[in-house]
Structures are given as C-alpha cells and as structure tokens.
C-alpha cells in the first residue's frame, strides 16, 4: 500500500461507478474504497448503476463531464463496460476496473477476484464436505449476469473432477435471499436426496439455509460465495459449510489506491488478483475482523 506520492492529494477527485448497492457485497466494496479515499485525502464520488450496464455508461460519461482525474468502474457487465472505458480514454481519464474485468478495452489496472476460479474452489470445498459423493443443487444468480455465468462455469469445471458428485438441479434465485429460500424449499420437495448446495452468492445461500432449517450444516452442506458478514456468522455457527470469500473491502481499497496513482501519472501493474479464499469454520476468525 503506502501513501502513493504524498503531498497535493487534497484536490484530487475520483469517480466510482458501482454495479449495484442492492447487495451487501458491493456496499462493502464501496466502504473499503471510501475508507481508503479518506485515508489518502482524495474526494471519491460513488454512483450506483443499479445493475444496468447503460446507466453505468451514463455515469462514467458524467464523470468525464466533471473532469474526474480517474475513474473506478465496477462493471455491471464486463463486455458492456468497454464503451464507457473507451469514452473515458478519449478524454485521457484513466480507468481502474474493480471486482470484474473489462473485456474489449484497456484499463489501467484490474483489481479483481476471479469468479471462475472461485467457482472451482467452491466445487472443491463442497466436494470435501460431502466426502466426494452425493447429489448437489445449484442456486443460480440472476440469469445473464457475468458473476452467475462465471461462477456457474467454474463450479461445473470443478465438480467434473468428482465423478460421484451429481448436479441434481439447477434453478435461478436471482442473487436474492427470499428467492433462495423459496426455490430451495421447492427443490427439497422434488430432490429430497440432495446433500449439497452451491449458491452463487451468500444471500441465496442464507435463504437456502433458512429453507433447510435444522438440516443445514448437518445432512445438507451449503456453500456460498462472497463472504458477507451474515455469511461469516453462518459459517461460524456451522449452518453454512463454507463460503468463497471475496475481499470486497480490500478490492475497494486497492482500486482507490491504484486510481490515485494513475491519476498522478504513475504507472501501475496491469492486474492485481485479490485472492478469493475458502472460508470454513476453521479459518473464519481470520475474516471476521477485516
């Protein structure tokens, strides 16, 4: 980390477009970014694209109107972010991508956790919990979002290594806790033999745990994704077997750091992979304070 160049940072203005704040994960990402901005003495304006790629383009456009010195984009969709990034580049404003990459345009730095890798790790974690055999259900995120796509793909790759694990059902629950609850409730009816659940985010995992009731953590192992505070609590209490923790605060912090440096004309690494880590009961304490 470090101060990133010392004096004269006071007037520096940065813009950050977050894909959505309707999710605690991104709230943490924002919090990390804001804390770091305060720490570095720069002004950070955060906007919420409400999961709408075109609104995000608008917001980046507006940042250019405001002459921001650098822009952090947390893409709603990796492909769709390219025109926004290009627009910023045209007026020579450097862009840092956070949490998700941008395909089809150059950014100064990508600070991200790898969702495909995360999906694979989730498969491994779940397999371990299940003794490498059994039926699993997958709760999918909002159809068509890159996070759902990538995690689903990673999980499928990962689970392929375990011939005795069968994916019995895949149903969308839109990254939403209530839907996670309802869909899981229904899946228990049609697939009573399910012993493992992979939810593409923690919100759905927490809903699924509600649906499973006392069976969660005992007969049925649930693995989530994100590492939100509620999920960490669930991991500690044993109802959630594991979650693939992203480190949203760290992502936000590093993105701001990088943005400040590129704004001052320094060069930065093309990509920083913020590791995703599997959180289980054993190591949950390491995450709870971060």
């Amino acid at each position: 980390g470090g101060e990133g160049g010392g004096a004269g940072g006071g007037e520096l203005e940065l813009g950050m477009s977050v894909s959505t704040l309707n999710n605690p994960y991104f709230v943490q990402l924002r919090d990390g970014a804001q804390a770091e901005a305060k720490n570095l003495g720069v002004t950070l304006t955060v906007t919420d694209a409400q999961n709408d790629a075109s609104q995000q383009v608008n917001q980046v456009q507006n940042f250019t109107s405001q002459n921001m010195k650098a822009i952090i984009i947390n893409p709603v969709d990796s492909d769709a972010a390219a025109p926004a990034v290009k627009a910023a580049e045209r007026v020579n404003i450097p862009v840092v991508a956070a949490d998700r990459g941008v395909t089809g345009a150059e950014v100064a730095q990508t600070v991200a956790s790898d969702n495909v890798a995360g999906g694979k790790m989730a498969a491994q974690a779940l397999a371990e919990q299940l003794g490498e055999k059994g039926q699993v259900a997958v709760l999918q995120g909002t159809p068509g979002t890159s996070a759902s796509r990538d995690r689903g793909q990673g999980f499928a790759q990962g689970v392929a290594a375990y011939p005795n694990i069968k994916v019995a059902a895949k149903q969308p629950a839109d990254f939403d806790r209530t839907k996670g609850l309802d869909v899981m409730t229904n899946l228990i009816q049609s697939h009573p033999g399910v012993t493992g659940v992979f939810a593409e985010n923690d919100e759905m995992a927490l809903g699924a745990i509600k649906a499973l009731g006392a069976r969660a953590g005992r007969q049925v192992k649930v693995v989530g994704f994100d590492g939100t505070p509620d999920a960490l609590k669930a991991v500690r209490s044993g109802t959630m077997a594991a979650t693939v923790a992203q480190q949203p605060k760290l992502l936000g912090k590093q993105a701001v750091e990088a943005a400040v440096r590129v704004a001052k004309g320094e060069t930065v690494q093309k990509s920083v992979a913020v590791p995703v880590k599997v959180v289980t009961k054993e190591n949950v304490a390491d995450f709870e304070t971060s």
Binding site: L21, N22, N23, P24, V27, R30, Q140, P143, A169, K170, Q171, P172, D176, R177, T178, L181, D182, V183, T185, N186, L187, Q189, S190, L206, G207, K210, P229, D230
Partner: protein, 320 residues
C-alpha cells in the same frame, strides 16, 4: 317488470363465473399434479401457501387501491422500509419489539398517506405519486440500513415459523389479512366508498362521499398491508433487507388483475386476489419442481399467466 326472466344460474355457477381465475388455478394444480409427483403433497401445498403469502398480502393492499381506480407501485419498497424500520428501531434504537412493530406499521401507513396526499390534494396521477414513493421508500430503506441487512428481533422472527410442527404462520397471516381485506371491502363504509370512487368518482362526490378522505384511507391501508408483508418477509429470513421485495409491485398488481379486478376501477375482490397470488406461487413452485431451466422459466411464466387469464375471459364470453 317483464316476465321474461331467464332461469337463474345456480349460486355455485354464478360464483365461478365471477371468480374465473379459480378455474385457471384448478387447471394449473391438476396439470402440475400430473407432471410432478412431488406437487400434491401436504408439505408442498403448505409451501406454496407460504410462498404466496407476501405477494398475497401486498396484493390485498393493492386491491383497495385498484378498486378505487388507482395503482400503487410503492408496495415493495414500502414493505422493505417497514421491515427495516422494525429491525432498526428494535436493534439500534433498542425499542422493545412490540413497539418496534407498531413503528413499522406506522411507517407503512405514513408512506401510504403521503402518496394519497399527493394524489388527493396534489392531483398527481397515482402512477406518478406512487412511483415517487417507490424511489423514496427504497432510498430511505437503504439509508437507514446503510445498505446491509439488519437482524430481526427473535420474537418477531417467530412469525416466519410454524405453529406446531406444520402450520406455517405466514399462511395464517395471509388468511387473516385476506379476511380483513374482504370485510373492509364488502362491509365497511370505506370499502363501499372505494367501489363508488373507482366506478365513478364524480358520482361518488356528488353523492356526498368525501373522496379525498377515502383516498387517504385507501392508500393508508395499502401502506399498512405492505408493512405487514414486509414484516412477514423479514421474519421468514430472520433479517430485514433493504433490497427486499424489489419489483414485487408488478406481482401484486398482476395478482389483483388475474383475480378479476379492472385497472380502471370499481371492480375487485379479496378472494380473487388470493387466487391470483396463488396462481403465481403455484406456477413458480411447479417450475422449480419440474426443474425447468433458468432461461425458459420466464418464458413459461409469461405464457401461463396469459393462458390463465385467457381461460377466464374466453369462458366469460362463452356464458354471455
């Protein structure tokens, strides 16, 4: 009076004719029972009831509004704000839970009153007034919660559970709210006034109905019902979420309209609304049981909603 009165239909037939959505629901249930062996179990049917509860309660509230010829787009947001208010006042402000629950209801009602004031005194179209409230309530829910879920007090979370081993409380709450809605609509002055206003606002006014005041009551009821829905929703999750129930307004309105109400007002019944909400819940439940793929689900839901109402309108034309 002419003697040429045709033979009257039996009461059951008359009831069916007015509640045509019932036919669609029955068809759906039969079809799903045949397609999926898991569907027709007691547990699953109770599940469906629970899953319908939040939408149904929101929809009962929307029924009042739609009967007056209005629309309430804010119910999902108001539900979230009310739940957040409960959890926040109980947790951060340390209020005892019964008080926190009252606060939550008051917040819901207040939201309804603000919308109604904009409509009655500001002469805003209900669509705009409640669209504004949709944004305001959702924003406030996010502001209060700082974007993160807040745990619900345990006592309130019981609401998400069961009585004994089986009987789910959300189901009971749904039925109770449905009965309240039916009684209000059928038996009380405000309820009857809603039909008059929705049927012909000017005629209602010239008949001495205080339209403005009745609209306040109507939207306050919608807000109050939304608060109850929000509390039930949060209890099921044991956590109040600022983004909860986003987009539920369309489901609620759809339930009311599938249940036979008209968006131009003057028509609608609580029982119809319940059937509408059940159709939506049965549909989603069934698609899960049948493991329909994520992408196709939306297509199927769309087609079935259209068919369900089509059955009704075609049948109605048949009898006429």
């Amino acid at each position: 009076m002419s003697a040429d009165v045709l033979p009257r239909r039996s009461p059951a037939a008359a009831w069916l004719a007015e509640n045509g959505a019932v036919v669609a629901l029955v068809v759906l249930v039969v079809a799903l029972s045949l397609l999926s062996g898991d569907f027709l179990s007691l547990t699953n049917l109770l599940n469906v009831g629970v899953q319908a509860a939040v939408t149904a309660i929101l929809a009962f509230g929307s029924t009042f509004v739609i009967v007056t010829g209005g629309i309430d787009l804010s119910v999902g947001s108001v539900a979230a704000l009310s739940a957040i208010s409960l959890a926040w006042t109980a947790t951060s402000a340390g209020l005892p839970w019964p008080l926190a629950t009252l606060v939550s209801l008051a917040v819901g009602i207040a939201c309804g009153l603000v919308s109604a004031a904009l409509i009655a005194y500001g002469k805003l179209p209900p669509f705009i007034a409640t669209l504004a409230m949709l944004g305001i309530a959702r924003g406030l829910a996010l502001v209060v919660s700082e974007g993160s879920p807040i745990a619900m007090p345990d006592a309130v979370s019981e609401l998400g559970g069961t009585i004994g081993a089986y009987l789910p409380i959300p189901l009971i709450v749904m039925v109770v709210m449905g009965v309240i809605a039916a009684v209000i609509l059928n038996r009380t002055y405000p309820g009857r006034a809603m039909y008059a206003i929705g049927g012909n606002q000017e005629a209602a006014r010239l008949s001495g109905i205080k339209v403005d005041r009745q609209l306040l009551i109507t939207y306050a009821l919608s807000g109050g019902f939304a608060a109850v829905a929000g509390i039930v929703l949060a209890s099921r999750l044991a956590s109040a979420q600022p983004q909860a129930a986003a987009g539920y307004e369309l489901d609620a309105i759809a339930a009311v309209v599938i249940g036979g109400a008209s968006l131009s007002g003057g028509k609608g019944r609580a029982l119809g609304t319940l059937v509408g909400a059940l159709i939506l819940a049965v549909l989603r439940n069934g698609l899960n049981l049948l493991s329909v793929s994520a992408f196709w689900q939306q297509v199927v839901i769309g087609v079935v909603i259209a068919l369900a109402v089509l059955v009704d309108t075609l049948r109605r034309r048949g009898t006429n």
